[in-house]
Each structure stands twice: as C-alpha cells, then as structure tokens.
C-alpha cells in the first residue's frame, strides 16, 4: 500500500495576528492587513506599505537566548511550529523524534538582521572592508538560511532529516512538496514543514522598488494590492510563517488524529525564460498543474477551488489565468479561484505555505475565501476570482499554485479525505 502524507496540524503567524484563528477571520472577512510600514523609516522609498506582523517573540514564549541568536524569520517559524505541533497532538520523543524531519521554505532567510549588522560593520555603508570586530557572535547563524530549519528542529525536538528549501517565491509550496515526498518514500513518518520570511527591510523593499514590482499606492495602504483588478499597480511585501505537521496517513489514522487534508499531488517546473519575466502563455505553470493532478490521480474536473498566486502584478495575473485555463479547460470557468496576497501581502517564500494553510482551513470549514480589493475586474482575466465576499462551498480537492523569480512554477493538490471517503 502506497504511503500517503496528510496534514494533522497547522500553525500560522500572519499579519492578521498570531495563530490560525485570527488568520482565518481576516481571510474570510475580505479585509486586508496592509499598512504603512512601521518596522523602519520607509518614508524615502517608492513603496511605503507592507503587511506586517505584530510579533513579540518573548511574549510568545521564546527565551531571550533564542531571540538573540535568531533572525525574525526563524522566530516566526518557531512560533508557528509550536502551534502546529500542539494542534497535531503529537509528542515527539523516542523513536518518533528520529522519524520526524523538518523542511522549511524561505526565499531570503535572515536578510533583515544581516542588513542591520552590515550597517554597523560597514560604518553606515562607508567601508567595503567591513570591520569584523563589530560582528555579533551569532552573525553566521543570521547569515545561513538553514538556521531556520535548525531552530525549528531544536524547538520541536525533531531528529530526522532537516533542510531549508529556497526556491524564491515558490519555496513555500516546494518545501511542503519536498516534505510530502520524504513521508511518502519512507525517509520520515512525520515532517514539520512550511515556510517563513521576514523581508520587510530596506534592502528587500529596494529590490522590488527598483524594478517597480511593488505598488506605490501609498495614500491608501489597505487597498494597495489589487490582484486581478484593472487598477492594480503591483505587489505589497508581507511577512509571516505557516508550519504544518505532515504525517504518514496510517500513522495518523492509528492514533485517531484529526486530518485536515492529504497532500495528494505536487510538481515544479522551470520556465528557463527569464529570472523575473513570465511568458504570457503560462505553459510551464500549466505543466506543473497537470503533473500535480496526475500525482494526485485526479481529473482536472475534480478541482473545486484554485488558490491563485495573485501577487497583484499584471504579468502574474494574466500568466496564471492562462495556465489554469490550459490545465482545467472549461472547468476553469466553473471553479472559484481567489488569492490572499491583497490581505496578507506577498511574504515571498513564506506565502506558498500560508496559502496551503488557507486551503486546508477552507476545506475544513467548507468556505472559499475571497480576493480582497477586487472591484473592477481586468477584462483579460475572465475567471471567477471570488471578489471580496467569502462563499460556502464543500471542497473535495483544491489546487494551489505559485510562481517565482528564477522561473520556478509550482503546483500542489490537496484532497479532503472526509469528503472523498463519503
């Protein structure tokens, strides 16, 4: 009997608040958590809006030493992992700890602390040969993105295979896909998996400002990001983390665990086209969707909902609309497809896992979350993007897609076992 990977725990730290509940409340309300940046003085930047988390690591249980040796990117994941593990009801000890691995996605790792320390060592950007005598003792830990996986393993007690997956903005789908494969092929029975990013820093904001990928609608922060809307002007950065407990199906069933969904299919493709550009035809994303459906042994018509990448750029909206039509055919027009980045921002590598968490919660509640800020649909985007208002709908299988710099295209299919069993 083939091994299957199921989600038995979810933890979320998102701009809506700490935990699954405030996250779900925000998504279903159709409201947004984008605001004028408070984490640093962004007044000189082109884009001055982001979706920030109100996050205090000490108040959430991290020790002072944990907080000192980690960047915020790890802290978000540590807190999300704690919620996920508690939700799953698993106790990681003895042999189970050795059979539990960690796979966390992140696009930019600890860049916020790296930049902060750079500013000190370089004397405010003056010196090329920076002064290492000002380096804090944990600078190498901030520098290595893999520290995130290390900290999540330490905080959960996992002793199995651990790694960070860093494929830019598809990291959050790719890490869960990677974890599901480890469960399926027997390398682990449980995977603590998900993704995290905390990119709201001058350098990362600048990265997107200089190529005008960000929305400059600074006068109205709450509606700055408008996926699939004719008036969209770009993406808004976000931060956050979602961590899932992925467990081998029989293992979960034997202990009577509550199962959110099965990670039934996954695939990734490169477009080999351009580091930041997308071809309008959506061909490689469509190929990834087809393969993920094949992996899940599902017909395209089985998909009840599509969670879109929906970053808020014209290029992306048209690209993925084309991709979904290619793969789902006429069924695409009958399938609700919404994106959550208007609400929680684009948290780069983290968002793919945050979207998987949203999909799993949608299946649990039988609710399709809306695309916020969508009032005047782009005539080139003619699918049902679920504008502004949530809908009740039983979901048997859902598709989530992601697209990232480097040309990466990823797709994942989740199956609702309760519904497919009945």
């Amino acid at each position: 009997m083939a091994r299957r990977a199921v989600i038995t725990g979810i933890g979320v730290v998102a701009p809506s608040g700490i935990g699954r509940e405030p996250f779900w409340q925000l998504l279903t309300s159709g409201k947004t958590a984008t605001r004028t940046i408070t984490q640093f003085d962004a007044s000189e930047h082109r884009c001055r809006v982001a979706a920030e988390c109100d996050f205090d690591p000490l108040a959430l249980g991290l020790t002072r030493q944990q907080a000192r040796r980690t960047d915020r990117v790890s802290q978000l994941a540590m807190v999300a992992a704690g919620e996920a593990l508690a939700d799953s009801g698993l106790e990681l000890d003895g042999e189970l700890a050795e059979r539990t691995g960690v796979a966390i996605g992140s696009a930019v790792g600890g860049t916020t602390t790296m930049e902060r320390e750079y500013a000190v060592l370089s004397n405010g950007g003056k010196d090329w040969v920076v002064d290492p005598s000002f380096a804090p003792p944990h600078l190498y830990d901030y520098f290595l993105p893999s520290s995130i996986a290390s900290e999540v393993a330490l905080t959960t007690g996992a002793l199995g295979p651990a790694a960070v997956i860093s494929t830019g903005c598809t990291s959050g789908i790719d890490s869960v896909g990677y974890a599901a494969e480890l469960v399926r092929d027997g390398s682990a029975d449980v995977m603590i998996t998900g993704a995290t990013d905390a990119p709201i820093s001058p350098i990362t904001l600048t990265c997107f400002d200089v190529i005008k990928a960000t929305s400059a609608r600074n006068d109205d922060p709450a509606t700055a990001c408008r996926p699939f809307d004719r008036t969209r002007t770009g993406l808004i950065l976000g931060e956050g983390s979602a961590v899932l407990v992925l467990e081998e199906y029989e293992h979960a069933r034997r202990r009577g665990a509550t199962i959110y969904a099965e990670v039934a299919g996954y695939a990734s493709r490169c477009n080999a086209f351009h580091m930041t550009g997308l071809k309008a035809d959506g061909k490689e994303m469509s190929e990834a969707i087809d393969l993920a459906l094949g992996d899940a042994r599902l017909d395209p018509t089985a998909i009840d909902y599509v969670n879109a990448h929906g970053s808020g750029t014209k290029q992306n909206d048209r690209h993925e609309t084309a991709a979904v039509k290619l793969s789902l055919g006429d069924h695409a027009y009958r399938t609700p497809m919404s994106g959550i980045k208007a609400s929680v921002g684009h948290s780069l590598g983290a968002i793919g896992s945050i979207e998987i968490a949203a999909c799993a919660l949608s299946m649990r509640h039988g609710v399709v979350v809306p695309t916020a800020n969508l009032h005047e649909a782009d005539p080139e985007c003619d699918l049902d993007y679920v504008p502004n208002t949530a809908r009740e709908r039983e979901l048997g299988a859902v598709l989530t897609v992601g697209s990232g710099f480097g040309g990466f295209q990823s797709a994942m299919v989740l199956k609702n076992l309760e519904r497919s069993a009945s």
Binding site: W128, V129, S166, E181, C270
Partner: protein, 405 residues
Amino acid sequence: MNQDVVVTGVDVIAPNGAGLDAYWEATLKGVSAIRPIGRFDAEGYPVRLAAEIPEFDAEFTFPKKLTPQTDRLTRLALICAEGALSDAGVDPAELPEYAVGVAVSSSTGGLEFGQQQLQQLWGTGWESVSPYMSFAWYYAVNTGQISIRSGMRGPGGVVVSEQAGGLDSMAFARRRVRKGTQVMTTGGFDSLLCPYGISTVAAAPGVSGSADPDRAYLPFRADSTGFVPGEGGAVLVLEPRTVAEERGAETVYGVVAGHGAAFDPDVTGSGGDGLLRAARAALSDAGLTPDDVDVVFADASGSVPLDRAEAAAIERLFGARRVPVSAPKSLVGRLISGGSALDVVTALLSLRDGVVPAVPGTVRDLVDPRIDLVVGEPRTASLRCALVLARGHGGFASAMVLTAP
C-alpha cells in the same frame, strides 16, 4: 524496486583546480590552495587565510551580457554546469521539453554582489541599487540561471543545509530521476570570500585563526585549529542507468546508491549521534553494510570536538582503523554546499582510479588513532564503494553511498 541512478557527467571548479582533470591532478599531488586572503586587504581580520579560486580561462570568454546581473559565484556555477552537461554528452535542446531539471544547493547566494548593493543602498541611496539585486544574490540564483542558460525546464529545487547541502541536493535530484525526470543537474556552489562574508564566518565557532597555511586546516588532530573557508563546488549529471545505457553515455562514474540525513541537536558538537544515524540510513538505503565500504570521505570539520565525534562515529560503524578515511578538503578548505558536492566527485574519481587522496601535511602519529586517515601520499587500493559524510553548521548531518559502475 528503485532503479539505479548513475552519475554520467561531472565538472569541478575548486580553489586548487578549475576543471575535473586539473582538480584531480592537484588533489593527488597534494597541492593546497590555502593562502593569505588576497581578494581584499584582510589586515587585522581574525581569519587570515582562505582558499580562493584564481581567475581562469573560461571566465574570460564568459558572455559579457550576463556579467552585470551575476555574482562571480553564479558565473562559476554556470561554467561548471555547462562543463558537466558537456561531459555527460547531454544537450537539453535535443531532449523532450521537460526532460532535464536543476537542483544546485547554495547557502551563500551571490553574497559579494549583495554586499556591493548594500553599500549602494546605505552609502548612496535606494535608487542606486542594481535592478538585478532582486535575484542576483539570493539562494536560488544559481539554479535559476543554470536552468535558463541551458534551457532546462524540468523540476527545479534548492535544498539548503550548509555543508550538507551538496549531498541533500543530490538526494533530491535522485528522487526526481526516480519519479521520471530523465536527467537532473545537481551539486552545490558557494562562496563567502568577501569582507562581509568572512566577517560572518569569523564570528562562528570552528574557523581557524591561524596565519600558517601549512598548519591551518589539519583535521583529526588534538592540536587542530579549525577549518579554512574556501569557495567553489561541483555539478553532477544524474540519470537512470537504463537511460544512460540506451543513449550510450560515454562515462558512468558511479551509482548514487544510498542517502541518509539526520538532525543533531548537539549543534556545536560532540555528543549527538546524527552523523552515525545518517550514515546507517544511507547504507540501509543502498542495501549495503559497513563491510561493503572501501573508503570514507570525512566531513573533517577541523574543530576538535566535532572531529572527535566523527572519528567515534566512524569507529562505531566500522571498528577502529578498519577503513581508509580521506579528507581532501584539507587542500581546498570548506566550500559549504560546494564542499560535499566536491567530495562526491572526489569519491567517484577515487572509485574510478583506485586511489585515495591523502592529507599531505600531517603525520600519522598526531591523528586520532581510531581512524585510518590517509596521510602523506595517496594510497592505491581496489575500491568498489565509498561513503561520503557531511555536517552542516547548525546540526545537519548527511551521508551518501556511491558505488562503482
């Protein structure tokens, strides 16, 4: 039954040799690349030595158009990937659309490029930052650029676990091949040899502060001073044995027979059994036992407690001094994810030529007596199976079993 996944192409850009033959010749001759840092004035730095890659021919013919958007590390990775594909005789353009994928690990990204742009931002202002900054520094840059340059549209992946990343990426690539991707391009490439990068590693435990290139990185001794940072890496081409045979691949270097990974919560180093668990998992995955292993390529961190822990793990696995142990990274420093990928290539060449590279600058009497570290001159032996061990800073342990074709 899982099918055999074989290595049919390799290329290397290492501090002591750019290109497979140059690297292998230098490694067997015991040519060390450890020298005082030459890339910038490191006067007063707590780390004074590094293994830098000198400029080499292929860099001068690299397309100028790509230079402004790439860190040097990415250019090296691109040159190396082309070399590995050419060695394998694989042209992605001649294969079906999605037949070839890429998974090259990186822990540093284009760090020097990143430091330059941080200087622009903090020294001048955000408008002066390069439009390429959004992708030229990040960890997926090498994988993305390689896929674009060689037209590889299959699966992509970037598995990061510091020094273990080269092995973990190869395991990822093997999984993709087993699930139907015809060819995977994999390995690891890293460099932190710029002022800010050296400053990060200088803050970490384990790096050598020695100023003596002959003494700075001599692992498995009670008087080891640590490791020396290096740069570069290796790219390998993996495919199913059946496909390689059908297309008449010129060389089959070996079989990626087994992989195992584990987390060791004793992060700085001694008591945990992560490396042992990873090695056992790799052997079990390969369907082999310790008796089958003819040579071990050690992680050889150069830190006294970590080296002792590794020697103890090797002793527990094989018994004391039962199997030759090699540590060729003592010549080129630690290349982070590039290091374990390079060790795999070295292991494959050892299997091919029946010779184990030596740590030339050490003496047997000073080496941990529990292991048979090959010192002085390379040792010839009949080799069928190699075990490569790697540990990444932060508790990552990984092991790979390679067998002769």
